[in-house]
């Protein structure tokens, strides 16, 4: 089942099925979408052994148990935990740098919860510690977080599958893992909005928790662990990258190679954050030169 919203804000449900057996004149195995908007309003569906009500049934029918049995909720919770090791190496130095900058513990955790910007938070904190004024710190925030605008743009192809009311909530916790996981989940997920919200807020909760833990754990960790903890970030991103490349071959491979080379070569001319953005755009443009095999 796939949820989408039309231009009038009305929810539409479609079911993935295989046509061909129904003699619809297409070869067996061709995937299509059957519109279920009309009819079947209270029909129950069995999805992966969990009995759940029809997606557009009254809210009163959806108990917490049924909600938790929803495959998208379970997948969202599961996927949020994959990035547990990614939060740790960024949250720990952030918490320590916050203390060094003279912030109170509650201010460090509050800033982390309100911004949820990973390594970009460290840039803001560095500007604060250097004695920057409000405008200077906001400029650094803008430059360090401009990557998030590109993440939002990368989500554009999937936006019709999100309810308009979920977008403000989605935006608050939008981060790199989302764009890594969404392309593969878009094919399997019944309610992509629900999955994404559960996954994102699960990661946000871990991020805030690790910031608080970092205040306590940070001074206790041996320095020899630093390279291992630091490797969690590339390992997490690589785990998302390879399936994406595999699904969009050969264009994605070109995008990856150009972005990898560009992100290093451009550091001779530009700051690291900016060169990463420019290289990512250059890679995506280079991939357009390769014919799309999916069509």
């Amino acid at each position: 089942m796939v949820a989408s919203w039309n231009r009038n804000g009305e929810k539409e449900w479609r079911k993935r099925c295989v046509v061909g057996r129904a003699n619809m004149g297409r070869p067996v195995g061709v995937r299509c979408l059957v519109d279920l908007t009309k009819g079947n309003r209270f029909k129950k569906y069995t999805i992966r052994g969990a009995r759940v009500p029809a997606p557009n049934c009254p809210k009163s029918m959806k108990s917490l148990r049924i909600w938790l049995a929803d495959p998208d909720v379970r997948a969202g919770v599961r996927d949020s935990f994959y990035f547990l090791p990614v939060s740790l190496p960024i949250a720990l130095p952030y918490a320590l740098a916050g203390r060094a900058a003279g912030l109170a513990d509650w201010q460090i955790v509050l800033w982390s919860a309100a911004l949820y910007a990973g390594s970009a938070q460290l840039a803001c904190l560095a500007a604060f510690a250097a004695g920057g004024g409000l405008l200077e710190i906001l400029l650094v925030t803008f430059l360090a977080n401009s990557r998030h605008a590109f993440l939002g743009m990368a989500l554009a192809p999937y936006l019709p599958r999100f309810h308009p009311r979920t977008l403000p909530w989605l935006a608050f916790t939008l981060a790199t893992p989302t764009i890594g996981l969404l392309p593969s989940m878009a094919k399997r997920s019944r309610d992509l909005g629900l999955y994404t919200l559960v996954m994102q807020y699960g990661q946000w909760a871990q991020w805030v928790l690790f910031t608080a833990l970092g205040l306590w754990l940070g001074p206790m960790l041996p320095k020899s662990w630093a390279p291992v903890i630091a490797f969690a970030v590339p390992a997490g991103f690589l785990a998302m990258l390879v399936p994406l490349v595999r699904e969009q071959l050969p264009g994605a491979l070109v995008a990856a190679l150009v972005a990898a080379a560009g992100s290093l070569a451009l550091t001779f001319l530009l700051p690291a954050q900016t060169s990463a953005i420019v290289a990512a755009v250059a890679g995506a443009i280079a991939a357009l030169a390769i014919p799309d095999r999916r069509r």
């Binding site: 977008l167 764009i179 291992v228 630091a230 590339p234």
Partner: protein, 108 residues
């Protein structure tokens, strides 16, 4: 200057700015009918962003490029890449890569 009120204002202002950076592209692009070329471009953006972040995390240390194989993270990158090609389990890939770097670090 660094009174609690100033810090609270700073937190609120930086959070609002970050939120707008995230929300505005979603709000503007929602409901737009995109050209196939633009859609392909945006579909390839995650690959570009993730690759750039991975590459810089491993090969860029304190603003300096590091290429040497004596860096355990390069070995870890190769091991993680091999795991990612062999399996689709994100948890196994992340913890497997970390285990390789941890082992090399421990062996010294």
């Amino acid at each position: 200057m660094n009174s609690p009120w100033f810090i609270l204002m700073l937190i609120a202002a930086s959070a609002l700015l970050t939120y707008l950076l995230r929300f505005l592209p979603l709000a503007v692009l929602r409901g737009q009918r995109m050209r196939p070329t633009l859609e392909r471009l945006l579909r390839n953006m995650p690959v570009g962003i993730l690759t750039a972040l991975v590459t810089q995390s491993v090969f860029l240390k304190n603003g300096q490029l590091t290429w040497g194989l004596e860096d355990y993270q390069v070995h870890g990158l190769i091991a993680t890449l091999a795991l990612a090609i062999a399996t689709r389990r994100i948890g196994l890939i992340v913890f497997g890569g970390l285990a390789v770097v941890g082992l090399l670090n421990w062996l010294g």
